[in-house]
Amino acid sequence: MAEAHDSAHGGETPGTAVAQQQDHSAPAPAVAVVRSDRFPNPGFPPERLRVTDLDPKKEKQAERTISALFFLSIIGSVFAVAAYILFPIDNLDPSTIRLNNMFLGIGITLGLLGVGIGAVHWSKALMHGHELVEERHPTRGSDESRERAVEIFREANAESGFTRRSLVRNTLIGAVIATPIPAIALFRDLAPAKDPVALLKHTMWDTGVRLARDPSGTPIKASEVTIGSAFHVIPEGLAELEYHRLEEKAKAAVLLMRLPVDELNEDPAKADWSYDGIVAYSKICTHVGCPVALYEQQTHHLLCPCHQSQFDVADHCKVIFGPAARPLPQLPITVDDEGYLVAQSDFTEPVGPSFWERAL
């Protein structure tokens, strides 16, 4: 506190700079008053005593308040245990979680806040309240203790022979370096066993794989997709996968839509990728991979809920708004002999967001 006052008088503050400059020149002849270049140290303001210092009644009251807070804390903690027993969670009735959590929370909150608020109130209202200054100690140790420290190192070196027994020392350093190596090998194995780039470039879709409903996995006939429909599609067989089902779904999820044929503006090179106005696009946003499925059947806009990228389904899903860099990849589809929609092939480009090795 005292140091802060001193530095304020050192000339750094803007208000004092003018007075200092004038003092360097000769005093103006007409000015009779001799001015000091410093403000006097105002010292501390007179200490204001607290009501609890002045009034014994108030002191007694504060004491009662504090003990009441601590007592409330005890009640809260006991109440939390009682509530946990009285309002058990019934596995068959999720609404019981509500009461259980609420009363448990109220009890624990009272338990913790009672101690905390009581302790702060105690220190503020009753504990010794005089203002005092503690000078900051220098960080540097005394010369004596510094010398002693160096001496300890020397003694330890002489007693252990750390520099003398170089074989022991060097093998120790080698051993310490080697200990993290098993961890590196273990953590390295958390990475995909196969080349991740190849995994990112291929999905479950392949020639002749039927388009199936999510989540039931039943295949979809072209005749079932009425105009204006949106189907959430997984490749047939995904629902039966035993391993990596979610990983495969995350790449292969497709949105199937049927537009009036005259409203569909198709790239001539991809004209046979759709079937009678039925188009299938990857549901994984090319920005950061959120599922894009907010389909508006009249405007044919697809909206990504994460960052508001918009794709125009009628215009091969080109980006019409937002941060996505590329159109959604289209899945080439056709129908098989039984009238079911099938994929002509896998996606012809990697689905989802950009990655380092992706050729643009």
């Binding site: 609890t52 309240g129 005749s223 997709v225 429909s229 059947q297 009249q298």
Partner: protein
């Protein structure tokens, strides 16, 4: 009963005849319309119990009645024969269920052109809606109002919840609280919506909502979805106050204002000198 209603209705769309004498009060037409509509509504309200029994038969009288209502209230946009105009789409093949949804939720007649037809108080009695639905259904085959067993909401709520998360939640929010779409459109919240309108929306795909025909989600699936939505409405959120189920928007706002506000208050109290 229907004959009596016709007399009121034929009075309503005759604004030209009031100009003839040129000395009627300017509000006479409006007053006549109001009187006519009130009388019609009152008569129907009295007749509803008997009228619903008749609608199932979709009698020729009912269709005729619906045609008159359509001509008076809908034809200016949809065309006299529901063939569609520049202002409104054709209703040929729209089916009774589309009429029941659009008129029954107050979206039609549309208040104003805009990104989306807004909800407003329903303008017709159920009997009038049924009559118009019967007339539209008579134009061409279309989705019909489902039997009660598909809108009873007594299905499998867990299965309905899964279907809702996959097919509906991206627009309507996982708790059915609704959400924003592009260019001023929005997916409405689903709390308090009549099950038959939920069913109707899925089948007919009103406005920008995609169609979920019975070939995509079976009527049983739709009943499961309705079951889930009713379950969400009837059971309070397990996690306590749900703040409108809007997710990070309302929760973030709450914690930034009240959570941080409480921390600021505690900090000030900690450092302030006691009295």
């Amino acid at each position: 009963m229907i004959r009596r209603i016709e007399t009121h209705l034929t009075m309503a769309p005759t604004p030209a005849s009031t100009r003839r004498a040129g000395r009627r009060h300017p509000l006479a037409t409006t007053a006549l319309l109001v009187v006519g509509l009130l009388a019609t509504g009152g008569a129907y309200a009295l007749a509803t119990t008997t009228a619903t029994a008749e609608t199932t038969a979709a009698s020729a009288e009912l269709i005729d009645e619906g045609g008159k209502l359509f001509a008076a209230n809908c034809a200016s946009c949809h065309g006299m024969n529901a063939e569609g105009t520049a202002a409104g789409p054709t209703l040929i093949g729209a089916g009774a269920l589309a009429v029941d949804f659009q008129v029954g939720t107050g979206r039609m007649p549309m208040a104003a052109s805009g990104p989306q037809a807004e909800l407003k108080p329903v303008q017709f009695t159920q009997a009038q809606i049924d009559a118009m639905a019967a007339w539209v259904a008579d134009l061409a085959p279309g989705p019909a109002v489902p039997p009660d067993r598909y809108i009873a909401g007594d299905g499998d709520a867990a299965h309905g919840a899964e279907l809702f998360r996959i097919n509906c939640a991206m627009c309507h929010n996982v708790a059915g609280a609704g959400g924003a779409l592009t260019e001023g459109k929005w997916a409405p919240g689903l709390a308090g919506v009549d099950p038959v309108h939920i069913y109707g929306a899925m089948v007919t795909g009103p406005q920008n909502m995609p169609v979920f025909s019975d070939l995509n989600l079976t009527p049983e699936d739709k009943n499961d979805i309705i079951t889930y939505l009713l379950y969400v409405q009837e059971n309070p959120s397990v996690g306590g106050w749900d703040l409108g189920s809007l997710g990070p928007v309302s929760e973030g706002l709450f914690i930034w204002i009240f959570g941080l506000g409480a921390l600021v208050g505690v900090t000030i109290w900690l450092t302030a000198k006691s009295n």
